[in-house]
C-alpha cells in the first residue's frame, strides 16, 4: 500500500497511528460543533463588516455617482443609507435597580428595607437577587451583560433576542444564556454552582467541564468545582411555581440555596445521564462497614437546603454514602423493599462510583418490580448502556435498546433517551451484524433526527 492509499486513523495491528483511531474519530465527531445552515452567510457578513468591505463599496458607489444620472445617484444614496437608517447605532443596555442601588464597581447594594434587589435591563431582562447575594454587573453592551455572582443566589429571566449575549459568572464557572429563565446559586466557600433551568437552554462551563455542558429546561445541575464533578437532576414539578408564588429567590441569610418556602426541599427525581470525574476509578462492589447509622436516609443539605432521600443524596454527590447504607441494610433486602425512585438512585450511585454490577442489579429489580413505571422504562436504556459500555455485550445491549424503544413508542412522553438509544442501536447493530442490518435503523434515525449526534454515522451507513 502506498502512502497515498493509506487511510488515516484506521485500526491496523499495534501501529500507534492506527491505535489512535478512536481518539481521532472522537475529534472528528465533536469538532467543529454543529452549526446553523446560515452560519456561513452570517460569518461572511461579519467578515465584510470587519474588513471594511462596506466602505469599499461605498467608495465605488461614489465614483459611480460622478458619471451616472441624478436618478441613479439618488438610488445609490438610498441603497447606501438604507442599512444605516434601518439599524440605529448600537447602544448599550441601560440598567436600573429596584430595591437597591448600583454602587461603585458595579456592585448591587440592597436597600435598607426588606425586599430583594431586582436588576431591570432596558431589553426587559430581569435578575432578582437574594438580599445576601454579592453581585456585580461587570459590563453591559448592546447584546447583553456580564453579571458576576460572587456569592449567593440569583434568578434570571433573560428576554430572547437575536444575537443577545448574556453571561453569568460564578467563581471559575460560567453560565452562557440566550433567552431563558433559571435560578443559580454559587457558594464561594464550597465552590459549588447549582443551576435550575426552567425554560430555554444554557451552557455551563467550569473546571469540571471546560468545554461546557448544555442544559435543557427542567434540569438541575450541580457543578462541584472542588470535587471535579458535574451532576444532573430534574426539577421537581411545581418547584418553580412554588417559588414564584413567593416572588422571591431566597432569604439569603447565609447566602446558601434556600427556598422561600418553609417546607423541606423535595427530593429531586434524579435523572443523571452522564458524569465527569466523580472519582469513578475505585470500584465499590465490595462491602464497606462504615457509614451512616440511620436506617432511613438521613437529612442532608444541598447548597444549604435540607434534603432527604437517596435521590437527593446522589444529586449532592454522596454516592458512596448511599451505597454504604444499602450494604449495611443488606442489598437483597433493599432490592426487595425500596421504592423505584430509591432503587434508581442506588443504581445511579453505583454507576457513578464504578459499581456496574450493583447498578445492573438495581435496574433489573426496577424492571421486575415496577414493570410499567417510567423508572422501568429508563432502566431499560441504562441496562443497555451498561451492557454496551461496561460488558461490551452488544447483543444484550441491543435487546435492551429494543425494549426501551418499544416502551417509548407506547409512551412517547417519556422518551428522553430516544435519540441516543436509536443511535446506539444503529452503531451496535453495525458492529454486530454489519451494514445491511444497520441501514434501516440509520434511515429511521435520519428521518427523526437529521441533525442528531449520530446523523453523520447514519448517512455513512446509508451510503457507505
Amino acid at each position: 500500500m502506498n502512502d497515498g492509499d493509506h487511510q488515516p486513523s484506521q485500526l491496523q495491528g499495534d501501529d500507534p497511528e492506527a491505535q489512535l483511531a478512536g481518539l481521532t474519530a472522537l475529534a472528528r465527531e465533536c469538532l467543529p460543533p454543529a452549526q446553523e445552515a446560515r452560519a456561513s452567510a452570517d460569518a461572511f457578513a461579519r467578515f465584510r463588516l470587519a474588513t471594511g468591505e462596506r466602505v469599499e463599496s461605498r467608495r465605488r458607489a461614489r465614483a459611480t455617482w460622478a458619471v451616472s444620472t441624478g436618478t441613479l445617484a439618488l438610488a445609490a444614496v438610498g441603497a447606501l443609507l438604507l442599512p444605516f437608517l434601518r439599524r440605529p447605532a448600537p447602544v448599550a443596555l441601560s440598567l436600573s435597580v429596584e430595591g437597591g442601588a448600583l454602587a461603585e464597581g458595579g456592585y448591587v447594594r440592597a436597600a435598607a428595607a426588606d425586599g430583594e434587589p431586582r436588576l431591570r435591563f432596558s431589553d426587559g431582562t430581569e435578575v432578582t437577587l437574594s438580599r445576601a447575594s454579592r453581585v456585580r454587573v461587570a459590563e453591559t453592551d448592546e447584546h447583553g451583560a456580564r453579571v458576576l455572582l460572587e456569592e449567593g443566589r440569583a434568578r434570571a429571566q433573560v428576554v430572547p433576542r437575536a444575537r443577545s449575549r448574556w453571561v453569568f459568572d460564578a467563581g471559575p464557572c460560567r453560565v452562557r444564556v440566550t433567552g431563558t429563565r433559571f435560578d443559580m446559586h454559587w457558594s464561594a466557600a464550597r465552590q459549588v454552582l447549582e443551576v435550575a433551568l426552567y425554560h430555554g437552554s444554557v451552557t455551563v462551563e467550569g473546571p469540571p467541564a471546560v468545554t461546557g455542558v448544555s442544559m435543557r429546561a427542567g434540569q438541575r445541575l450541580v457543578m462541584d468545582v472542588r470535587g471535579g464533578a458535574v451532576r444532573f437532576g430534574e426539577i421537581e414539578a411545581g418547584e418553580e411555581a412554588g417559588e414564584k408564588s413567593g416572588g422571591k429567590v431566597g432569604n439569603g441569610g447565609n447566602a446558601e440555596w434556600q427556598g422561600t418556602t418553609a417546607a423541606p426541599a423535595p427530593a429531586p427525581t434524579l435523572t443523571p445521564t452522564d458524569r465527569v470525574g466523580e472519582g469513578a476509578a475505585e470500584p465499590v462492589e465490595e462491602p464497606a462497614g462504615d457509614g451512616p447509622t440511620t436506617h432511613s436516609p438521613g437529612r442532608r443539605t444541598m447548597g444549604g437546603k435540607s434534603v432527604e432521600g437517596w435521590p437527593a443524596r446522589v444529586l449532592a454527590g454522596e454516592f458512596r454514602g448511599v451505597i454504604r447504607e444499602a450494604r449495611r441494610r443488606g442489598i437483597d433486602d433493599v432490592l426487595r423493599r425500596e421504592s423505584a425512585v430509591n432503587l434508581m438512585a442506588l443504581a445511579d450511585a453505583a454507576r457513578y462510583a464504578g459499581g456496574a454490577r450493583l447498578a445492573a442489579r438495581a435496574l433489573t429489580q426496577v424492571r421486575g418490580r415496577f414493570p410499567d413505571s417510567s423508572s422501568a422504562h429508563r432502566a431499560a436504556f441504562l441496562l443497555g448502556r451498561l451492557a454496551e459500555d461496561r460488558d461490551d455485550d452488544l447483543a444484550k445491549a441491543l435487546d435492551w435498546y429494543r425494549i426501551y424503544l418499544a416502551d417509548s413508542d407506547s409512551d412517547p412522553g417519556s422518551d428522553a433517551f430516544r435519540a441516543e438509544a436509536l443511535g446506539r442501536q444503529m452503531t451496535a447493530t453495525l458492529r454486530l451484524h454489519g451494514v445491511a442490518r444497520a441501514q434501516p435503523l440509520a434511515n429511521a434515525y435520519l428521518r427523526r433526527y437529521p441533525r442528531g449526534a449520530y446523523a453523520k454515522a447514519a448517512r455513512t451507513i446509508v451510503s457507505p
Binding site: D3, Q10, L20, A21, E29, C30, E205, A209, D274, T460
Partner: protein, 215 residues
C-alpha cells in the same frame, strides 16, 4: 509571468451563479472584483477552513477571529496565486500558517504563565456525551504539549484525513520529512493517551473507525 498569462487565458467568465464555477474561474472573478465572487469563494471554502481550524485548535476555542484572518490573507494574496486551479492547497496552506501562529502565541502565553491555556473557552456546541467531551479535552491537552508544527501535522493527517502530500505542502516541508515525523508524533501521543484511564478505552476498540464515525 508567462505561466500566469497562460493560466488566465484558460479561465471563463462566469455569468450568474458561481455554484458550479471551477476554482480557477472563481479566482479570476475575484481578481476582476466581479459581484458575488468573494462571497462564492467564502461559501466554498468556509466549511473546510472552519473544520480545520476547529480541529487543529481543539474544543472550546474561539475560531471566528482566526477564520477572518485566514480570509483576509487569502483575498490579499489571491493576485499572487500562480496556479488558480490549486486554490484548495493555497487555502489550506494559509489556514495552516494562521493556525501555527495562533498556536505559537498560545504556547508562549502558556509558558509565560499568563493563562493556563492562553484562551477563554468558547461556548460548547451540541450536547454530546460528557465523558466524550472530557476525553476530547484530555486528548487535546496531550496535543497541546506537541510543538505547533507537529501538532498541526498530526491533526491534518489523522483528524482531517489529508493526503501526505497535502500535509507536506501545507507545512512547506518535504514528503520524506512528514513521513518521518508522523509515526514519531503518533507514538508520543499514544504513549501519553495510554496512561490516561479516560482515554485508554478509545485506543483499543478494535472497530474500523470508518464504520463508527459520527457527527
Amino acid at each position: 509571468m508567462t505561466d500566469r498569462k497562460v493560466s488566465l487565458s484558460l479561465v471563463r467568465d462566469v455569468e450568474g451563479s458561481f455554484d458550479d464555477a471551477r476554482d480557477e474561474d472563481l479566482v479570476f472573478a475575484c481578481l476582476r472584483q466581479q459581484a458575488g465572487a468573494q462571497a462564492a469563494l467564502w461559501d466554498r471554502y468556509y466549511p473546510i477552513v472552519r473544520r480545520v481550524v476547529c480541529r487543529a485548535s481543539g474544543p472550546g476555542r474561539e475560531v471566528e477571529d482566526a477564520i477572518q484572518e485566514i480570509f483576509i490573507r487569502l483575498f490579499r494574496k489571491l493576485p499572487g496565486l500562480r496556479d488558480p486551479s490549486s486554490l484548495r492547497a493555497f487555502v489550506i496552506s494559509i489556514t495552516v500558517r494562521v493556525i501555527k501562529s495562533e498556536q505559537r502565541a498560545r504556547w508562549i502565553r502558556r509558558w509565560l504563565g499568563l493563562s493556563p491555556d492562553g484562551e477563554t473557552p468558547d461556548c460548547a456546541g451540541d450536547p454530546v456525551d460528557l465523558e466524550a467531551r472530557e476525553a476530547l479535552a484530555r486528548f487535546y491537552a496531550i496535543l497541546d504539549r506537541l510543538a505547533p508544527r507537529h501538532r498541526t501535522a498530526f491533526v491534518l493527517r489523522h483528524v482531517e484525513g489529508l493526503e501526505l502530500t497535502e500535509v507536506a505542502a501545507a507545512l512547506d516541508i518535504s514528503l520524506a520529512t512528514i513521513k518521518r515525523w508522523l509515526p514519531r508524533i503518533a507514538r508520543r501521543v499514544f504513549s501519553q493517551a495510554e496512561s490516561d484511564p479516560l482515554l485508554a478505552p478509545y485506543l483499543a476498540r478494535g472497530i474500523p473507525v470508518r464504520e463508527l464515525e459520527v457527527t
